[in-house]
Amino acid sequence: MALLKQAYLLVWKDLLLEMRRRDSLLTMFFFGTLLLFVFHFSFDAAPERVAEMAPALLWLAFLFTGTLGLAQLFQPERENHCLDALLLAPLDRGALFLAKSFFNLILMVIVEIIVIPLFWILFNLRSWNLLPQLFLVTLLGTVGFCVLGTITSAITLQARARELLLPLVLFPLMVPVILATIRCMENVLRTGEFGDAIPWLRLLIGFDVIFLTAGVLIFDWVIER
């Protein structure tokens, strides 16, 4: 499909740019790790309580780290009138949306793959066997974040105080994802399986599908001259 092929090319371009200078990736990674340290100093928690708080703390870290990535998302396009060039090209804007979302997703996943085990090490948690399930939930939540985040990043592109406006607009919209991922992860950590949290999982998947579709359809009107 032309849409996916265009998206693939755009993602490849962004990845190449990122691999050369690694600005976003490194900043996001160090910020995420820094937050873990800050959390550790903030809570003097016993090991049992840390396991309870882990999902929430992790998600706080990912939300703020992800926002950093979103602020940078369209940075390459803002330089040298690249955005104009992109818009002049016979591209489906939906492809641009998919590409940017997926690119941010890749960055966040890379950070998460390192930060989650790091969290387990720093906070002396034992439940290593549950990590695959936790990763799955995190992935689904991150998809939701990237999808809504890309739309939000694009519509705030021309606003003043953009770094403040972006989270202000994005975070309330993220409530379903935040609730669903944290409740799912809590359940997994408590019972070792999804069980009662399956409805939350379904909500998460539904959220992802709805806003992925909405984003592709609506992106034509988001970025324009």
């Binding site: 705030t156 021309q158 202000l168 607009v169 379903p176």
Partner: protein, 235 residues
């Protein structure tokens, strides 16, 4: 753009007058005629404010959605005006709903705030549409502000059912069912005049809402015209 004609202004005046009458009757019914609730006493009368205002807020956000969608489709300024006006008034009513809910909670629950589903939901709604208004005011180019806001107006509205579900599940999954909610409508002991009071209050709020909307909309129209004439002047 045509100036507001005599008939339109007259219609607005009539709407305003009707709203005023309905509000007066509603106040009388809510505060005097309707009996106090068996469990909550007179504090329950806040319900006659609370339910209509939250419903008006939802109506407003629906209009934001419609205006936003129409604007993205047809690019006519009037749809953008509708969305903007509806968002502004919607924020007003949402803020009022939260305040009413909080005040209602104090005598019935003993606390000014609780993270129960409805209050939390309303607070999130407020944040979303305050964000909408901030996005508009912080984006400098007019047309871009309108487009950006329209996208947010649509996305925000699509999110509302999801937020509803997630917050209700979160609050009710492990909640003992016997908790008395202050904003629970006392259906078991409903006196017919309570329903009448509610109905009149609904009508009053609706009339008031459309009156405010028409005022705000007209204000927006005039501002647009001023801008257009000024620009034409400089050309």
């Amino acid at each position: 753009m045509a100036q507001s004609s005599q008939p339109t202004r007259k219609r607005k005046g009539i709407l305003g007058a009707l709203a005023l009458v309905a509000i007066a009757i509603g106040l009388f019914w809510s505060l005097v005629v309707a009996p106090p609730d068996a469990y909550q006493g007179d504090a329950q009368r806040i319900m006659y404010l609370h339910l209509p205002s939250i419903l008006t807020a939802y109506l407003s956000y629906f209009l934001v959605f419609v205006g936003s969608a129409m604007y993205l489709w047809k690019r006519e300024k009037r749809d953008d005006l509708l969305a903007h006006s509806a968002a502004e008034i919607g924020v007003l009513f949402t803020a009022l709903t939260i305040i009413e809910g909080s005040i209602w909670g104090r005598p019935t629950w003993g606390v000014w705030w609780t993270w129960d589903a409805r209050l939390t939901l309303t607070a999130i709604l407020l944040l979303i549409y305050v964000g909408y208004l901030m996005l508009r005011s912080l984006t400098e180019d007019e047309n871009r502000a309108a487009s950006a806001a329209a996208v947010l107006g649509i996305i925000g509205f699509l999110d509302i059912p999801l937020i509803h579900m997630s917050v209700y599940w979160w609050r009710t999954l492990h909640q003992p069912p016997s908790i008395l909610r202050p904003d629970k409508v006392p259906w078991e002991n409903v006196h017919p005049s309570m329903l009448t009071a509610l109905a009149i209050s609904f009508a009053a709020f609706l009339l008031l809402y459309f009156y405010l909307l028409s005022l705000r909309y007209r204000l927006g129209e005039m501002r647009e015209e001023i801008k257009a004439r000024r620009l034409g002047r400089e050309a």
